[in-house]
C-alpha cells in the first residue's frame, strides 16, 4: 500500500495537467498545487464540467490520508491537528510499519499475523482529528436505549461463545466485558439474538460467518479501511455509476437513479440500499434508503438513511459529506466528511474485478475444520472445539495511536 500511495502522489501531478485541459474556467495557482491545502476550501475556484455541462466528478478517487472515524476524547473539540501533532503521529505510526506483530507463535491466534504491515496500508495522518464533523465533539452520537439493549444482547452472546477460550483466560481485549469460565456456554446451541453479520466463535453453517467472510461486505457508508478504498465514478448525461474497490477482492457498484422518481417500494431491500440522486448546484446529492436487514453499519440495519453530498472542490479533490441517520439507533443524525484525491486514470490502480467469491476457500475451510474438530472430540481424540477461538483477529491494531 505504501507503494500505491507514493505512486499516487506522483500521478496527482500528471492528472492535474490532464484535468486542466478541460477546465471551463481557468483555475488559480493556489488550487492547482498542494491538494492538501484545499481541504478547507469548500467553495471551488472553478467548477469542472463534463462536455454536456454537468459538474464533473469522474475519475478514480481515494482518501490519501488516515483519519479516525471518531475523535479521541483527548482532542476534545479540536477539529484539526496542529502540524506538530501530525508530524509526531506520523513518526509514531511509521515506527509500526514493517513490524510483524504476531501473537505467540504457534498459538491458535497466530494467523492474525497474516495481516501484517505488508498487507495493511498505513497512510499519512490526515488534517482532521476525526472524520465525524457533526456532532462537534467528533463522536458517534449516543445510542438510543433500545439500541443499547440490542448491542448489549449481541455482545453477551458473542462473549458467551468465547468464555472458555484462551482469549478470555488471558484477558485479551477481544474478551473485554466477559470473563473466563472453563465450562463451555450452553449458548452454543442458540441462534444469535438477530441475523448475524459479525464474526463469532462458532461455525455451525455459513451464516455464522461475518459478512466479509461470506463475500457479502457490509457496504455503505464506505469510509475506507486498512486494506484500501478506491472508487471510480463514470458519468453520462443523467446517469452516474460508482464502483468501489475496498481491497481483499471485495468490491461493488452503485448505479445512481437520477430521474427524479421516488425510492423503491419498502418491500425491496438491498445490500447497498436504493440510491436516488439529483444535483443541487454543483453538488451531487444522493439519498439512500431501503437497506437490507442483513446489513449492519454500527448497529444500524434496515432503517439506515444516508444523505450523501459529493462536490468537486478542485482539479484533484472531491469532497464527500454524508449525513447518517437512524432514529431507532442514534439519538441524533451525524455527519462525516472526507476528502478524496484523484488517482491516475492511466495507471488504473483500482481493482474492479472483485474475486472474493471465486477464491473463498476460507469460508468452507472454517466449517470443515470445525466439523473435523467436533468429530475428533467425539472420538476422544481432540479438545472440545468450544475451548478454541476461531473468531478473534487483528490483534495489534490497537497499537495505532490514530485508532
Amino acid at each position: 500500500m505504501r507503494d500505491r500511495f507514493s505512486r499516487s502522489l506522483i500521478t496527482v501531478a500528471i492528472a492535474a495537467a490532464a484535468v486542466g485541459a478541460i477546465l471551463s474556467v481557468p483555475i488559480t495557482r493556489t488550487s492547482a498545487q498542494a491538494p492538501a491545502a484545499s481541504l478547507k476550501a469548500s467553495a471551488p475556484t472553478a467548477v469542472l464540467k463534463t462536455p454536456w455541462g454537468e459538474p464533473d466528478l469522474q475519475g478514480i478517487w481515494t482518501d490519501e490520508s488516515d483519519t479516525p472515524l471518531q475523535r479521541s476524547p483527548k482532542y476534545a473539540n479540536q477539529e484539526f491537528f496542529t502540524e506538530a501533532q501530525r508530524a509526531e503521529l506520523d513518526k509514531e505510526r511509521a515506527a509500526l510499519l514493517g513490524r510483524d506483530r504476531r501473537v505467540d507463535r504457534g498459538t491458535e491466534l497466530d494467523v492474525a499475523g497474516a495481516y501484517n504491515a505488508q498487507f495493511m496500508s498505513v497512510k499519512h495522518t490526515g488534517a482532521r482529528t476525526s472524520l465525524i464533523v457533526d456532532p462537534p465533539n467528533g463522536r458517534i452520537p449516543p445510542l438510543t436505549p433500545e439500541a443499547q439493549k440490542t448491542a448489549a444482547t449481541e455482545r453477551e452472546f458473542r462473549l458467551a461463545l468465547l468464555q472458555s477460550t484462551e482469549t478470555c483466560k488471558k484477558k485479551s481485549i477481544a474478551c473485554n466485558g466477559g470473563k473466563y469460565d472453563a465450562t463451555p456456554s450452553p449458548r452454543f446451541a442458540e441462534l444469535p439474538p438477530r441475523y448475524n453479520t459479525a464474526r463469532m466463535n462458532r461455525r455451525d453453517g455459513p451464516e455464522d460467518g461475518a459478512l466479509p467472510d461470506r463475500c457479502l461486505t457490509g457496504g455503505l457508508p464506505e469510509f475506507g479501511g486498512a486494506t484500501g478504498s478506491f472508487r471510480r465514478i463514470v458519468q453520462t448525461p443523467g446517469g452516474i455509476s460508482i464502483f468501489y474497490d475496498v481491497g481483499q477482492g471485495q468490491g461493488w457498484q452503485r448505479n445512481i437513479v437520477m430521474n427524479g422518481s421516488p425510492h423503491l417500494p419498502a418491500r425491496i431491500r438491498q445490500w447497498y440500499g436504493d440510491a436516488r440522486g439529483h444535483w443541487e448546484g454543483n453538488t451531487l446529492v444522493i439519498d439512500v434508503t431501503n437497506f437490507s436487514p442483513k446489513t449492519d453499519y454500527q448497529g444500524s440495519r434496515e432503517n439506515l438513511h444516508l444523505v450523501e453530498r459529493w462536490t468537486r472542490t478542485g482539479p484533484n479533490t472531491l469532497e464527500y459529506v454524508v449525513t447518517i441517520e437512524d432514529p431507532t439507533v442514534w439519538t441524533r443524525p451525524w455527519t462525516v466528511k472526507q476528502e478524496f484525491t484523484k488517482q491516475s486514470d492511466e495507471e488504473n490502480r483500482i481493482y474492479y474485478e472483485p474475486r472474493c467469491i471465486e477464491g473463498n476457500y476460507a469460508s468452507p475451510g472454517l466449517m470443515r475444520g470445525q466439523r473435523m474438530a467436533e468429530a475428533a472430540f467425539a472420538k476422544g481424540e481432540g479438545p472440545d472445539p468450544a475451548i478454541s477461538d476461531n473468531a478473534t483477529d487483528f490483534v495489534g491494531v490497537e497499537e495505532d495511536p490514530l485508532q
Binding site: R203, R214, G239, G260, D345, R371
Partner: protein, 329 residues
C-alpha cells in the same frame, strides 16, 4: 381452488402497485423538494452514439450459443428408450416441471452455426456439458466473463462517458470498464477481461484480452482458454436496439476465429433500474450445505448432494382439480 383465487389476488395487487408507481412519479414531480428535472437522454455523447441505459438480451444464448431443440430439462437422465431424444428430467430439477425445461433456439453463432473446436477441445466441451451442474461457473455465482455477461437473462446498465464506459451487470454485481483513453494493462489475468475501446464511425469496437481460462460461454459447456481474444462491435439498429457482435479468437481451443451476433434490447420501462442479484448468498447451500453442523437438505454424503425429492401436492392443487372449477370437490 384457494390456490387459484389467491393467485388472481396477487395479480390485482401487482397491477395496483404498477398504477400507483406511475401516479406517484407525477406526484413527486409536483410536490417534491424540486430535484432538477431529469435530463433527457441525448442521442449522442461527445459526438458518439449514446448507448447509455439499461439493456438485456432476449434470447436463449445463455443456454447454448448453438442452435438446439428444446429439452425436457436442464438436467436429464435416460428414459425408457435408449435414445438421446427420449431422455427425461433428472432429480436435481424434477420437481420444477416445465420451469426447468430448456427453450430451443436457432443459435447465435454466425456462418455455418458451428463452433470450430479443435478435436481435443471438443471432447472437453462434451464432458463439460455432461457435468454441467458441477462445472458451470454460473451455478456457483462466479464472475460470468465476457461475452456471457452480455446475454445472461439479467439486465445490465451502460454508463457512457467520453473516456470511460462503465457496464454494470445485475448478475452477481459484476462490472467492467471499457477504456477509451490510454490505460495500463491489468496486473493479472481476469474473468471479465481487460476492455479497450475505440470508435469506428458510429460503431463502438472493443478489444477484450487478459482473460483467465475459467469462464464459460453458456450452460452447454462451451468454453475457452486464457488465450481468448474478443473483438466486440456495438452499433445502434434503432434508439432502443443495439446490434452486438463478437469475434472470438482462441488458438488453443478453436481452429479459426468465429462470430456471434444478437440484438440487445433497451428496457424501456420508465421505472427501470438495476436491482441487486447477489447470488453468492443464494448458492451457499448449494456449495457448502454439506459442511453444516445440522444439515438443512436431506441428505449430503460428503460432497455429494443426494436429493430425495418429496413433492407433496396439497388438497385442491392436484392436477385434475384444475379442471372445471369445482373438480376438487
Amino acid at each position: 381452488m384457494r390456490g387459484r383465487f389467491s393467485r388472481s389476488m396477487t395479480t390485482v395487487a401487482i397491477a395496483a402497485a404498477a398504477v400507483s408507481a406511475l401516479t406517484s412519479v407525477s406526484i413527486t414531480r409536483t410536490s417534491g423538494q424540486a430535484p432538477a428535472a431529469p435530463a433527457a437522454r441525448p442521442a449522442r455523447v461527445g459526438g458518439k452514439p449514446n448507448f447509455s441505459g439499461i439493456w438485456q438480451a432476449n434470447n436463449e444464448a445463455n443456454w447454448d450459443l448453438q442452435a438446439h431443440a428444446a429439452l425436457p430439462a436442464a438436467v436429464t437422465q435416460p428414459g425408457i428408450y435408449p435414445y438421446d431424444y427420449a431422455r427425461v428430467p433428472a432429480a436435481p430439477v424434477l420437481a420444477l416441471g416445465a420451469a426447468a425445461a430448456v427453450p430451443g433456439s436457432l443459435g447465435v453463432v454466425q456462418g455455418d452455426g458451428q463452433i470450430p473446436y479443435k478435436p481435443e477441445a471438443l471432447l472437453i466441451k462434451k464432458e463439460n456439458a455432461e457435468h454441467w451442474i458441477d462445472r458451470d461457473p454460473e451455478l456457483k455465482c462466479y464472475l460470468p466473463g465476457i461475452p456471457r455477461a452480455m446475454y445472461m437473462p439479467y439486465p445490465f446498465q451502460i454508463t457512457q462517458s467520453t473516456d470511460k464506459i462503465h457496464m454494470a451487470y445485475e448478475f452477481s454485481n459484476t462490472a467492467r470498464t471499457i477504456h477509451l483513453d490510454k490505460v495500463a494493462g491489468p496486473p493479472d489475468d481476469t474473468w471479465m477481461g481487460h476492455s479497450v475501446g475505440r470508435w469506428d464511425g458510429d460503431t463502438l469496437v472493443v478489444d477484450v484480452t487478459n482473460f483467465n481460462d475459467r469462464s464459460w460461454f453458456d450452460r452447454a459447456g462451451n468454453f475457452h482458454s486464457d488465450a481468448l481474444h474478443l473483438v466486440e462491435r456495438f452499433s445502434l439498429m434503432s434508439p432502443d436496439i443495439i446490434r452486438y457482435e463478437v469475434t472470438m479468437e482462441d488458438p488453443k481451443v478453436f481452429t479459426r476465429p468465429w462470430r456471434i451476433a444478437m440484438p440487445l434490447y433497451r428496457r424501456v420501462e420508465p421505472n427501470m433500474q438495476l436491482l441487486e442479484f447477489r447470488c453468492n448468498e443464494f448458492v451457499e447451500e448449494f456449495m457448502y450445505g454439506g459442511l453444516r453442523k445440522k444439515q438443512l437438505v436431506k441428505h449430503w454424503e460428503g460432497d455429494t448432494i443426494a436429493v430425495d425429492i418429496t413433492r407433496k401436492v396439497p388438497a385442491g392443487d392436484k392436477f385434475y382439480e384444475w379442471y372445471g372449477g369445482d373438480g376438487g370437490k
